[in-house]
């Protein structure tokens, strides 16, 4: 029996730190993934999509996101959606979920009570809805005693981590790592982690279908699950994400280093769908620094969806050529020399002088391009 396991849609995530033009694209992509999932279900003959928590980014996402989500799910008539509240959108009474329960189209089920229910013939879902952002108890404990008819497929649906990461702080919503076994589950569909992770043959994190941040090994997918009575479930990864979030730290010695790195950077990804955070470090000449800046800000940043450039650690050491470029002597040369020696100072003063020197260099380059001499 087939169904799709997905989680962490986090609809309505604002991406407030992104520039405006990137923001709405990133927001829309999260809604679009509902359509992608509907298509994937239909083309794979899966009648049910289980969403393991964090459907929305916040407990009150606002009418636009809410309506968009409902409309898109309703449009996929032959798909039955089962939504579970997660830590981002806990089911507070009279909040989002109460409205959702009332507004839901026929093909949408909200799993708000910790009781088993049959979603298809023989396919029983044991949900562990989160009522609070944080709970100390394992919300899946009741699965062990949750009763279902004999020979029914018992599918656990829960949201939370299975491993306690921090030794000093108790993790919240922690789920017993062997819950699938103790509750005799056919499959345990988990959400919370945005990256795909298989815990055991029966226990899976599908990850978010549309990546939403840097620093995670997230590719953006859903899982097509086929459960059977005798064997472990058959789990197939289905790519669903549009944007690829990549974070890199490059240590540069020259402009050429940057070009080499850029050439080898995510060649598999369509640059339009790339979101990148580049942390640059190293010590380069003024001309290289200007080139790096030019290439990244005036070319690369426009090629991809959003470039988050952090070049604070890319330091400049002006070469003789750099200084000669500014001037061989005269006022500008004098200014360059002064700024260069000021830049050697630590902290803010040094950084500012370095920036001023760079600015002088760039202005000088601009003049040169305009053909102003002497």
């Amino acid at each position: 029996m087939r169904f799709i396991h997905t989680s962490d849609w986090q609809l309505g995530k604002p991406f407030g730190r992104a520039p405006e033009e990137a923001r709405s694209a990133l927001q829309d992509a999260r809604l679009d993934v509902i359509d992608t999932l509907a298509k994937a279900a239909q083309s794979n003959d899966a009648k049910v999509v289980l969403v393991a928590g964090d459907v929305f980014d916040s407990p009150e996402p606002g009418d636009r996101v809410y309506r968009q989500a409902l409309t898109r799910m309703k449009a996929a008539e032959r798909v039955k959606w089962v939504l579970l509240p997660g830590n981002h959108d806990p089911a507070r009474s009279d909040g989002l979920w109460s409205r959702l329960k009332n507004d839901a189209p026929e093909n949408l089920l909200t799993a708000l009570e910790p009781t088993p229910f049959e979603v298809l013939d023989g396919l029983w879902v044991l949900p562990a809805p989160l009522l609070y952002k944080r709970t100390i108890d394992d919300p899946t404990t009741w699965f062990d005693s949750g009763e279902t008819p004999e020979r029914a497929f018992r599918i656990g649906l829960a949201h939370g981590p299975v491993v306690e990461f921090s030794s000093t702080q108790t993790a919240n919503n922690l789920i017993a790592v062997d819950r699938a076994k103790t509750a005799k589950l056919s499959y345990l569909a988990l959400g919370d982690w945005h990256g795909r992770r298989q815990i055991d043959a029966y226990t899976h994190y599908c990850g978010t279908p549309e990546p939403d941040d840097f620093g995670r090994e997230v590719t953006g997918m859903a899982l097509l699950v086929d459960v059977s009575q005798k064997e472990a479930p058959d789990v197939v990864e289905i790519p669903t994400g549009r944007y690829f979030w990549r974070s890199e730290t490059w240590d540069l010695r020259s402009g050429a280093d940057l070009l080499r790195e850029l050439n080898g950077f995510a060649p598999e990804v369509d640059r339009r769908n790339l979101v990148a955070r580049l942390k640059l470090s190293g010590l380069v000449s003024l001309s290289d620094r200007a080139e790096v800046r030019n290439v990244l800000e005036n070319e690369f940043a426009h090629e991809i969806r959003w470039l988050d450039l952090q070049a604070g650690d890319l330091f400049v050491r002006p070469t003789d050529d750099d200084m000669a470029d500014i001037d061989l002597n005269g006022v500008l040369r004098e200014v360059a020399e002064r700024l260069s020696s000021m830049a050697a100072a630590d902290g803010m003063v040094g950084r500012r002088a370095a920036s001023a020197l760079e600015r002088l260099y760039i202005e000088q380059q601009k003049l040169q391009r305009r053909g102003v001499s002497e």
């Binding site: 604002p14 407030g16 916040s58 001037d327 500008l332």
Partner: protein, 878 residues
Amino acid sequence: MIIRDVSIENFRKFRKPLVLNGFSSGINLLAEPNETGKSTILEAMRAVLFERHGSKSEWIQSFRPHSDDVAPTVEMTFEVGKNTYKLRKRFIQKPEVVLEGPDGRFTSDQAEEHLQSLLGFSRPGNRGADWDSRGALGLLWVEQGQSFSLDAPGQTARRTLEEVLAGQVGTVTGGRRTTAIVEAIEKSLSELLTASGKPTKKYAEAIREVEDSEAEAEAARIELGEFGSILDALESNRNTLRRLNRDLNDPEREAQIKQLNEDIQGAQVAHSALQLAELKLKEATGAHDALEKRATRRATLQTELEAARKRLSGQEIKAKESIEAVDRARTSAAEANAALDAARLVAVQTASARQAAEARRGEIRRAKSLAIAFDRLDAAELLAKEIGIVATTLAQNKISKEAIDSLESADRKIQTLKVKAAAGAVHLRMLFEIGAPEIRVNGVVVSPNYEALFADEQTVELAGLGKITIEPPQGGESALLALGAAESDMSSLLRELDVANLAEAHLSARSRQDLERKHDELNARLQYACPADAELQIAEGLDALRGALSALERPDSKLFADVGTDDTKEIQAYEDAQSALAGAEGRREAAQKTLQEAEIAEARISGDMVPTQNDIDRLSTEARSEISELSEIALAEILSHAKSHEGRMILEHDQFKRAAESFDLSALTKKRDYLNKQIKAMADERPELTRRIGALEQQAKDLGGKGPAARAIEASELLDAVIAKRDRIAEEAEVLSLLSNVIKVAQQEASIRYLAPITKKVAPYVKQLIPNANMAFGEDYIPQSLIRGDRTEATAHLSKGTQEQLAVLTRIAFADLLLEKGKPASLVLDDALVFADDDRFETMLDILGDAAKRMQVIILSCRTAAYRPLKANRIMIE
């Protein structure tokens, strides 16, 4: 730069085309009288180069000849380096510019820009070209009245100079680039900070964005908080309602109420039983008390009876004693009565004796009084007679006080009129000697000694001699008439009063007064002689006396002369009898009082005995009947029975009381009522709670639709983003400011170094003009001081002439510097050197002549003669 020819049309006073050609590359002199238009020519040369053809400013409008609607047009051919340029500008109407040179033909803005970069000046502002925009040429083309100006060069000129000087001090490049970079940086900085360093435009916008976002984030946070509160309230209300419903159906409380109701019923039964027991006890106690009282009463009866009997025997003894006392008092009273009768008899006898004596004495006293009255009448009659005589005399005298007053008044009137007549009349007095002729006055012959007073015309005739007429003044006549009337009144008055004159009247009046006084005195004496006589009952006055005595006879005084007046014996006897009578009366009164008291005492004692006897009768009857009704033994038995019954009732009552006390009825009722009230209150609370929940649900729905949580997250992230942006911009501003400052400092230091070549360049000219002198420049290229040997003078303190000469020399030095760097330069002086003395003027001409070997010099002057020695190319205005 060498200007070759200039043509001007429709420009100020030059309506018709003016062509100036034949300019040489050396010195050119345009010497014409005043008002010929030299300055206009310079203005046109400046206009064609520095003003924008398309400008419509007031300044440009002023180019147009007065009240002509034409297009001012200027053309100029000039050389820069080896290239020749042809420039034409038309202003205001169909404005155009055409620049033709080796690079081709340019028009419009392109031509203007080309010109600007060729000659090193800037695009002028909206009001037209100025000191700043005209650049180095502007500095070298000196208009009328400006030749002695020592102002700092304008910005563009200064930049050009700096570029040139940068080369001079050995720097290879940088002048113009520095300027361009400074401009670029300042432009970028001006997008962020104002001149005074306040955030503006982009920076200000970023700050505003942060403020807006902060407000937005705060609002979203508050809204989210409100939403949370609503959900909390909703949950708490729901829980309350749930609890309420549970409480309303609490079986435990129902059982409690049921038990309470049962208890209350039990309590009510016990209470009734107690009430009955209380009633029975009261009855028993009552019976017992009644019997006790009866026994007590019986004992009291016996005691009272004995006391009454004892009292009666005491009263009988007292009664006997009082009867004896009454008898004694009666005897005393009878004796006193007899004594009183005797005293009365004596008193009557002495009283009549005394009365007879008194009557005799009264008769004698009246006779004596009557005799005196007759004597008084005699004296009074004499007085009355005398009064009659005086009155008759008085009646004959007419001169009363009023008559005298009338006489005196008439006399005063005469005197007054006499004075008046004397004033208005003529007093004529004539005294003729004896033998004088006959004299007639008004025809009447008068004596020779004549005197008259008159008020009318008088004619005095002297016989044989003639007439004298005398006319007195007017007014005298009437006074004389009045005087005559008054004198006649007076004489009639005297006649009436029967006196000769006023003096006689006065005499008569005085004698009348004496008579009146005597009359009054006699009347007073008469009144005194007839006083009122109380004894004889005669009123005051003569008439009363006469009337009283008329019917009486004068008594004979012998009748009472020897009668004695001693009646003391009768009076003494009378008084003694009276005292005796009073004593007898007192004694009888005392005896009667004693008798009365004894009788009262006797009556009281016998009265007292009656009630005592009655008491004894009543008490003995009562005692008898009581005993006969219930014997002592029977009473004692009943009493003991009643006592024991009461004891039983007390026990029974206590028992019921304890039973009733075990139920506290009021507490039970209170508790039951409280529980019922609780139920009602809860039931009442339910609808309000339900309503509140409904309202909160709606609020939660409405507010939830706005997505408060999402908004809060978004607002907070946006805030972070705008803060980062603002910080980035702030940092950019800091970096630009730093760069700008470092450049400025470097520039300042450099410009100090740059001044050296200028000083060096101008030095030979200064020495030529003022031996052993040199000039020092300030940082702003202004000639600052003149150094003569050890003496340093500020240029501002030099004479106008010297200032002007130094200014011209500085410009020659600037032009030299520009030329050395291949920059276009030419010198134009309009009416310069006007303050120079002959020697200096000559020297200046030498210097200018020398300069003209290196540059084109154009001199505009009205002083044709002064410039005659100058070997110059003369340009004529035709």
